[in-house]
């Protein structure tokens, strides 16, 4: 597949008010394929929004290059770049009607005036605002404003769609619905997209590729399932989903946890006998009242509807968070219960121990 956006060792430094240099984006390289939705995911201040703004042209890179296809766009002003952005605050023009908001870009583009009414109407229809063209933005709900912002970008048929935390101002229910709609629309139109969010659930549900960022650098690039199941390091494991870290010793095709030997599904490239960290997802530990290699005591229980979350103290290991599905059918465990644990073998993942 063709590369639609290429970022090569892109760097952005800011000067803080104190005079020190802050590196917001630290030599980031990234290739994005045509039609893919790539999410930049990370905690606030990790540089993801700065990276997006560099792509859109609102920030000037300190170093490195940005290519749209084969064309280097570093020196193109934002209004010339073939990208359209959905802003966190929507940034709808409050003085223009819904229709005029969507038509704004077309009216400025030479040769786009022809058939403008039809094009705008079609896109409004597409985002479900067909009847609201004459409304003023102030008469719209948050979700509808969001759709206007989206329609305003789509109508331009840009090479690149950019999303800057577009759903962060919506309530939880609407957020879920909108992210499905965005994904659906993006796939139907096949527009290459870069999506910024700090919400890992949103990122997992919407992306082809996740780019996990921290402190201006890329920690891992991969599909959502790769990043979840095989995090590249402790930061990624911790940031994406809940996780237990367990100290272990690497023994060839297995690890030794508190004297118990657990075989590994694959063979990581590590020295035998070295200290490693085992990454255990809460749902990847099976709990039983009768038998298992590790013995523990339930300390705390949380009922969460479709699953229950337990804090279990394990001898020689420490406290582990463990999820069990269908607590209603299965029956909740109670604090003080003795349980036996065994990891789901295929979900075991080891990292070299960090210091």
């Amino acid at each position: 597949m063709a590369t639609d956006l290429r970022i090569d060792r892109l760097r952005k430094e800011f000067e803080s008010p104190g005079g020190e240099t802050v590196v917001a984006v630290n030599d980031v390289s990234l290739d994005i394929e045509k039609g893919a939705l790539v999410t930049l995911l990370g905690p606030s201040g990790c540089g993801k929004t700065t990276l997006l703004r560099l792509i859109a042209g609102f920030e000037e890179p300190t170093g490195g290059d940005i290519y749209f296809g084969d064309r280097r766009v570093n020196d193109e002003a934002p209004n010339v770049r073939d990208s359209a952005m959905v802003f966190q605050s929507y940034a709808i023009f409050p003085h223009l009607s819904v229709f005029e908001n969507v038509a704004f870009g077309l009216r400025l583009k030479r040769g786009s005036r022809h058939g403008l009414r039809e094009r705008v109407g079609r896109v409004l229809e597409l985002v479900g605002l067909g009847a609201l063209g004459d409304r003023s933005p102030s008469q719209l709900s948050g979700g509808q404003q969001q759709r206007v912002a989206l329609a305003r970008c789509i109508v331009m048929e840009p090479r690149l769609l950019l999303f800057d935390e577009p759903l962060s101002n919506l309530d939880a229910k609407l957020r879920e619905q909108m992210r499905l709609e965005i994904r659906d629309l993006q796939q139907r139109l096949g527009i290459t997209s870069v999506y910024v969010t700090h919400d890992q659930v949103e990122a997992m549900s919407i992306s082809d590729v996740l780019v996990v960022m921290n402190g201006g650098t890329v920690e891992q690039i991969g599909s959502p399932s790769e990043v979840y199941a095989r995090p590249a390091n402790r930061f990624v494991a911790d940031f994406i989903g809940k996780v237990n870290f367990v100290d272990a010793i690497f023994t060839g095709r297995a690890v030794d946890v508190a004297g118990v030997r657990w075989p590994l599904p694959d063979a990581p490239d590590l020295a035998e006998g070295s200290r490693v960290t085992l990454v255990l997802r809460p749902e990847a530990i099976l709990m039983s009242t009768t038998d298992g290699p590790l013995r523990g005591t339930v300390r705390r229980t949380v009922f969460l509807g479709n699953h229950a979350e337990y804090l279990v103290e394990v001898e020689g290991v420490g406290e582990l968070v463990i999820d069990e599905t269908d607590p209603t059918d299965r029956g909740m465990r109670t604090a003080g219960d003795t349980v036996f644990l065994s990891p789901a073998a295929e979900a075991l993942h080891v990292l070299p121990a960090e210091s």
Binding site: A77, N79, A84, S89, P94, H95, P137, M156
Partner: protein
């Protein structure tokens, strides 16, 4: 440092049109703001043989100049003090308490702002002059002289207290009333609440208002020219007299520089120290602003002061109206339209000229102000601070100084502009653009920048973004900039009096001439016509652009 400047330039240059606009603004500011001021400075040091401090030594040697300086300073200080007290009382009563007739009282209190700056002086002549209604006809005094310290202070307090009122009203209404409630709640009495909570919180605003009134008083030209009299010299009119009376440009420039120093000092203090401390954030949380911190007795006492000021305003304008529509003040009170007839027959060209100057300079000033505010807040380029400073510099420079600078700068080729419409328009544009810039900057800082980024992202270049998005969004600031520019273009005198000519004369200058030649009735008729034009223009501007103003506030950003 240089690297950053280069990067900023490279980014700016990508938008050719905007780049050209920035360059043009820099050139214009250099030629029409900085260059005239530099010439005033240079020529104040000019001696018959070269350059030196000879002119300034005159301050020490000649009693006239020394007195002019002392008089201007003491009048400025007293007017500042009285103006702030009056303004504070009015702001507190009208802004923070529940009293009847607030809207009307507010309107009446700010009426002097949109009048020619010396209409108060004309009323004072009608009431306390040689033929004054009060002094001569009611009290029978024959040797009472209003001219001098008392007269100037009276008319300036009347003229400038409303300015203090407006700025203090903003300060007082930004103080969260729950602070007062909290103080009352934990046991402070009302007196303590006011002096320990409300007043300290408004103190930066009080100091700021004092400095603004002080600057205005120092720079005032019309009131002193009418009311100071020969025995009470003041700086601004003295500088004018040196130039037009004795044709001594160097001495006029020297007095202008002396006038400039206290004004610039006050301005620098106000900007560097005070304006930063009263930065108010709009939270959007609705809060009742009725203050509990005043006892009913005190409230009605203060209310009486405000009503009294309003009554004085009404009386002053009533006096002008009567003076304009009767035959001879003090002798013959028969109704007559002869003064108005004179205005429309003999001096109608002046009315026309004034309107042309105001109508041409208002939109230029308004748009330039918003454009500079947009550039300063939303773009980065080397010299941005200099652009902001250069564009608001003229706000602090007394008009007399600007006027002298303009005749020094534009009286020879290649910029031979004296006697033209252009020099008047340029003067008004660059003198009154700062207010538009300041309100534009304040409003822009509250608008989410991503709205403009969205426009850019959708293909709008810098100027298109400004025209199609920024300008409509900052409608209220644009509106107030326009109104201010128009009102000032109609009512200004201090700089304009140097720049008028036989071809292009202004009503304010004409009014002063009529006062000078003792035709008070004609002056009053002129003032009334002027006031009528200004009021109807405000209504027209409101209809044209004010409508859009409330659109921006209807949506959450």
């Amino acid at each position: 440092m240089f690297h950053r400047a280069r990067t900023q330039l490279r980014v700016l240059a990508r938008d050719r049109v905007l780049f050209a606009v920035v360059i043009a603004i820099f050139v214009a500011l250099a030629v029409f703001v900085v260059y005239p001021l530099v010439l005033v400075l240079l020529s104040s040091f000019r001696t018959p043989t070269g350059f030196g401090l000879d002119n300034f030594e005159l301050i020490a040697r000649r009693r006239l100049y020394r007195n002019a300086l002392m008089n201007s300073l003491s009048v400025g200080a007293l007017v500042g003090l009285l103006g702030v007290i009056l303004g504070y009382v009015a702001a507190f009563v009208l802004g923070r308490t529940k009293v009847p007739g607030k809207r009307l009282l507010h309107m009446l209190t700010i009426l002097p702002i949109i009048s020619p700056p010396f209409s108060g002086a004309i009323s004072i002549l009608f009431l306390f002059g040689f033929n004054g209604l009060i002094t001569r006809q009611l009290l029978g005094l024959h040797d009472f002289r209003i001219y001098g310290f008392f007269g100037v202070v009276l008319s300036q307090v009347f003229t400038f207290a409303p300015i203090a009122y407006l700025s203090l009203r903003g300060v007082l209404s930004s103080i969260n009333p729950t602070l007062e409630d909290a103080a009352l709640n934990i046991g402070a009495n009302r007196w303590q609440v006011f002096w320990r909570v409300t007043f300290p919180l408004s103190l930066p605003g009080v100091a700021s208002a004092f400095l603004v009134v002080f600057i205005e008083s120092m720079a005032d030209f019309g009131n002193p020219l009418v009311l100071a009299g020969a025995a009470f010299p003041m700086l601004a009119p003295q500088a004018y007299l040196e130039i037009t009376g004795s044709f001594n440009l160097a001495r006029g420039a020297m007095l202008a520089v002396v006038l400039l120093i206290p004004s610039m000092t006050a301005f620098a203090i106000q900007r560097a120290y005070l304006s930063r401390r009263q930065y108010v954030t709009v939270t959007g949380k609705p809060s009742a602003t009725v203050s509990q911190a005043v006892a009913p007795f005190a409230k009605w006492l203060l209310y009486a002061v405000v009503v009294l000021f309003a009554v004085v305003v009404v009386m002053f304008y009533a006096v002008i109206l009567v003076g304009a529509s009767t035959r001879v003040w003090g002798y013959d009170y028969h109704l007559s339209l002869q003064h108005f007839a004179y205005v429309f027959d003999v001096a109608f060209d002046t009315v026309k000229d004034t309107l042309i100057v105001a109508v041409v300079s208002t939109p230029i000033s308004g748009i330039l102000g918003m454009l500079i505010a947009f550039l300063v807040v939303r773009r980065s380029f080397p010299g941005k601070g200099a652009m902001e400073f250069g564009s608001i510099l003229n706000f602090a420079v007394p008009g007399t100084v600007v006027g002298i600078g303009y005749i020094l700068a534009f009286n020879r080729l290649p910029l031979l502009l004296t006697g033209t419409l252009l020099i008047l328009v340029l003067n008004f544009v660059f003198r009154y653009v700062p207010v538009g810039i300041q309100s534009g900057i304040a409003v822009l800082r509250q608008i989410d920048p991503s709205i403009e980024e969205a426009a850019q992202n959708l293909g709008a270049d810098g100027l298109t973004t400004f025209r199609k998005v920024t300008l409509p969004l900052i409608g209220p600031a644009f509106f107030s900039g326009l109104v201010f520019a128009f009102v000032r273009a109609m009512t200004a005198i201090s700089a304009a009096i140097f720049l008028v000519s036989a071809n292009w004369n202004l009503m304010t200058v004409q009014i002063l001439n009529e006062v000078g030649s003792g035709r008070l009735g004609v002056a009053a008729a002129f003032s009334m016509v002027l006031l009528a034009i200004v009021l109807s223009a405000i209504v027209v501007i409101d209809l044209l652009v004010g409508r859009r103003a409330d659109v921006a506030s209807t949506i959450r950003f």
